[in-house]
Symmetry: D2
Subunit: 141 residues, 4 copies
């Protein structure tokens, strides 16, 4: 088991509060997708700007949102409704930015880093959506 | 005029696309509120944890969301609907986290840093809400 | 007194350990210089890349180093020699990056954001150097 | 080949300037070590503070330094001496902070997250040292 797996297993053992039943496999996948997306977007933004291509600003913001989302999932899970709602909203925002960034980078057909960035962004958006679907039943009616 | 003011004036001169008519005063206020909230939450999380008080994890995430939101506003404004929707969602998420964090820190009556943190968080939530209200008319029907 | 000032005053009251005698005015100035430099570099990187100018990658890294440096100063001060040495090394690195970035952005005479960025970077490098000078007497012989 | 591997291969193909001969295996290992260290420190800081243990402030700063270092390596490599010196200084600072954090977390024998954090921090410090050793011959005399 790799490090992220070991971390998830520790977190699962300690989970309590409204998210105690969280599917840790879904969360681990989302953490890894966010980490990969931050890396790809950071690289893409750096290289696009070195090549004099505009469009990299969206990649910079996408990288930061993915990092923020990843760190939130690595911390103790929300213990009240307000914090859970904020986490859901952040998943929603990250998913929306990843799709917008994927559309933009996917349209730059001639750049290897932009093509990979678009794929990794789509994967991250899907992982955030799966995380939201997994959390929804835990929200109070 | 201070530095943030000079930056806003540069951005206003260059704005184009769907957000060209953006009220830069509202955005500058939101940038400054995010910057202050990141600082207060970072300090609060650091000192709460040094004092052996739990609850600081939310402050850490709040600090990162405010920083991510601030940087997004400092970059060229969204040029298409997908990017605008992502920015709106991020404002929504930041506002929700700031209110959740304010509720948590506001309940720790005996800590000076937590009391200040709660005030600065509320101020940031309000500034994000004002920014959303200002952007809404620019969204396509 | 503004928020950063209030935060510094709280920190000063609680300081203990090897850095208990730290000059808080020097540290507050460094925190503010790092915050301003992060903002200017983020804006500069975003706009340079929108204008198809290379060179913005250094501004991105400079923004992140300034943010990391700022947050470290907002947290409880180092309590042992190893942590103090790490803080000194981070001040050194931030100062070096700010000077490299200032040289690069200062050479782009026709960009208002790059010109401002160069000034703010130099100011931040000086503030980091002052902070190092202030910390040096506290290091064990 | 995984994503970081594909990114390294793209970067290797494009490398020019003083660091054109850089050993990409050493750099990839350092990027991965920084990513793992950021995750472990973020989790450790969050859980230590939830458990009312002080000491987490160093983990927070360590997480941010590792993230900043990782992103710098993902961007186009330094093209001049000033930027190279700043990168060396940032490697030095990250290595120093990782060792200080490992010493602190390693001393908390009863916490699984702190024990793992100490190991991952040591690994990251070693990877930064290897990166510095690899860059040194490229610095001008």
């Amino acid at each position: 088991m790799d490090e992220t797996g070991r971390m998830m297993s520790m977190m699962s053992d300690s989970a309590e509060g409204p998210m105690a039943g969280m599917d840790m496999t879904v969360m681990q996948r989302c953490i890894e997708a966010c980490a990969a997306c931050e890396q790809a977007c950071t690289m893409c933004a750096g290289w696009m700007s070195a090549d004099g291509m505009s469009g990299s600003a969206m990649c910079m913001s996408c990288a930061e949102m993915c990092n923020t989302m990843m760190r939130m999932m690595l911390r103790p899970m929300p213990t009240n409704e307000g914090e859970m709602a904020a986490m859901m909203a952040m998943l929603q925002a990250t998913s929306a930015m990843c799709r917008a960034c994927a559309a933009d980078c996917g349209a730059m057909g001639d750049s290897a880093s932009a093509t990979m960035c678009a794929q990794v962004c789509m994967n991250c958006a899907d992982a955030c959506d799966a995380m939201m679907a997994s959390m929804k039943p835990m929200m109070a009616m």
